[in-house]
Symmetry: C2
Subunit: 376 residues, 2 copies
């Protein structure tokens, strides 16, 4: 290992230290420290003089110098799981931007890591807490059984979830009301005249998946439509899977004339399936989805979807996590935000009834044989 001396350093230009502020005012650094940190045994006048002097001299405490005593580094941890399949995860940039900007407003920073597997994520989470690189964590995409939650909760490490969880004990969260979006999508399709409305859910390991299925069911109930388990398709998180799921649903004897997708990507797969079977989206088959990926705007017709504001989500998560670290009870840090309906052309009144659609599908040459495999 090399010794320290040979490294490239930052300019030795003197920073302003707490001692500088103290001598400037004729006080001691302990007084300055307590004044700046709101201790009650400092006179109001002194506190003012100190904060003004600090401002004037441009004093910024070094968070790592504070950390040595306080154990807190003013940094939020974000550990992502990057599966190869969704390595090009949309919105990540927006999400990160939201987090870092909110953190920066409070003079906090964000420590990020990405790992390919659940186990490695867990390992990194432990390492970062062990090395005190972060004071708390943002957990995106909570799972039904989430080892991260269990482990952090057990260790008493502050965290906030982007998503909810079966056992809310000790959990703070920010989440989008996906279930409400699914419900609204379903009633919207029903009021357009659809009577057979299917649902393509997301991955069952994600907690939101169940919520969205519930929302879909509530929508059916609100519209006075019966729930048919056969209209819940196989789960789909990719275009391919979405196409496969749509095809499977359409093979139902009473096929759906509309599909509510838990995620936009699956909906784009529905487009593919429809194209292959010569169905027009928004005519013979309507679709409403959720996420708001940019491709939805470019598809033809545009995809009607409930869009998520990732930037805002990141910002709120950061803000809430900082509060959590400062000691606010997790029960007081739970926020839900609505998704925003983006109306485009994929949801219209049905051009065919379910029966007519079935009739037409059976006559389609590819209908029996078409398959959707993983693309190269």
């Amino acid at each position: 290992m090399a010794i320290r001396g040979d490294s490239v350093g930052l300019k030795p230009r003197q920073r302003v230290t707490i001692t500088d502020v103290a001598t400037d005012l004729g006080l001691t650094k302990s007084t300055v420290s307590r004044a700046l940190n709101g201790y009650p045994d400092i006179a109001e006048g002194t506190r003012l003089r100190v904060s003004r002097a600090a401002e004037r001299l441009g004093y910024r405490p070094l968070s790592h110098a504070q950390a040595i005593r306080t154990g807190r580094v003013r940094s939020l941890g974000l550990v992502l799981q990057i599966d190869s399949e969704d390595s090009a995860r949309p919105f990540l940039a927006d999400f990160v931007a939201g987090i870092t900007q909110a953190a920066s407003d409070e003079h906090w920073t964000v420590t990020i890591a990405a790992e390919p597997t659940e186990a490695k994520v867990q390992e990194t989470l432990s390492r970062l807490t062990e090395e005190r690189k972060a004071d708390g964590f943002i957990l995106p995409r909570t799972l039904v059984e989430d080892t991260r939650v269990a482990s952090l909760r057990a260790q008493g490490v502050p965290f906030i979830m982007f998503g909810r969880t079966p056992d809310p004990t000790g959990c703070a969260w920010y989440d989008i009301k996906g279930e409400e979006a699914m419900r609204a999508a379903t009633t919207r399709l029903a009021s357009l005249g659809h009577e057979r409305i299917a649902h393509i859910p997301g991955g069952a390991q994600y907690f939101y998946s169940g919520l969205r299925i519930d929302g879909y069911k509530e929508g059916l109930a609100a519209a006075g439509l019966p729930f048919d388990p056969a209209l819940i398709g196989p789960e789909a998180m990719t275009e391919q899977a979405g196409a496969a799921a749509a095809t499977a649903l359409l093979r139902n004897p009473n096929p759906p004339t509309a599909i509510v997708c838990a995620v936009d990507r699956a909906a784009l797969g529905v487009y593919q399936a429809a194209k292959a079977l010569d169905l027009r989206i928004g005519r013979e088959l309507s679709v409403i989805a959720y996420d708001g990926v940019p491709e939805g705007a470019y598809s033809d017709p545009g995809l009607t979807t409930f869009a998520v504001n990732s930037h805002q989500a990141g910002a709120r998560l950061a803000t809430l996590l900082i509060q959590r670290i400062r000691g606010v009870a997790p029960e007081d840090l739970r926020e839900l935000a609505p998704a925003t309906l983006v109306e485009r052309g994929s949801d219209r009144s049905p051009a065919l009834t379910s029966a007519d659609l079935a009739q037409r599908l059976t006559q389609h040459p590819k209908f029996k044989t078409i398959q959707w495999e993983d693309h190269q």
Copy 2:
């Protein structure tokens, strides 16, 4: 401001400190510190005993405790610029994963921030160095005139670029040989029989844009084809712009039968333009691009492209930056890697000559009028 006492802390479970290691061995912490940091005045035997004991006890120095004396926090800084237009930036997850994994191997971490404008990026960069939140920075997407480079260079802050720059003084970099890819794409198309090959460049503000144009020209020269300035289209970084650029190029009296795109997104726009004009990609119009975005695999026909390994790029950048911070000269930290050709179906022998293509285009009803505007 709240006082510190009321915050949620991590378990007070005792960490292993350097003093623990020292007393365990009957040494002083100063000896242990020097042994671990490779100082020459420690006997080899002692050094071994110390590192073994540290290992056995699970000692991990706290980087912020070290930082208070050394000024180095063992953290890499990454400040992204998130324009609203490419907020869904592809590969970001992969790129970040590469960086963090390589950093983690050396027990470093990554501090990330994202800002919407160039000025704010610059501000954040300054703040992070000022607060010693990072020991050096990774600069993605270098520009022809890059204030980040100028500023960090002037301040003597270590950094590494993902990309190259007009004035390499004091600069370390890792980059992909985009120019070589453009050259190879051009010669490849020429050897397929194309004689009119156009180029749609990327944004002129990016340094790579000029490099890729040069590569394209070299390819023409190598194939013995003349360079026609009219075959360099307007720049395009989006699908819309790509479609517009392709349409403009096709309006040339001797239209190209093949187009080399600086970025995949533009190529996907070329697909749209071709579709609108009833040209088949890989038949009447061939395309080769660069990046390797996932959509390229799903388009029809698949897009032949030179793919970039973002994960590896991130990993190398992190490794090189750490070396830079440790004092290696920037001149010794410059790496170029090739892009990987992914052969799919968008490049074939021309089905029509340029003259025939021109003929056919003039007869197309939309040809004169078609326009590409920004989508909602």
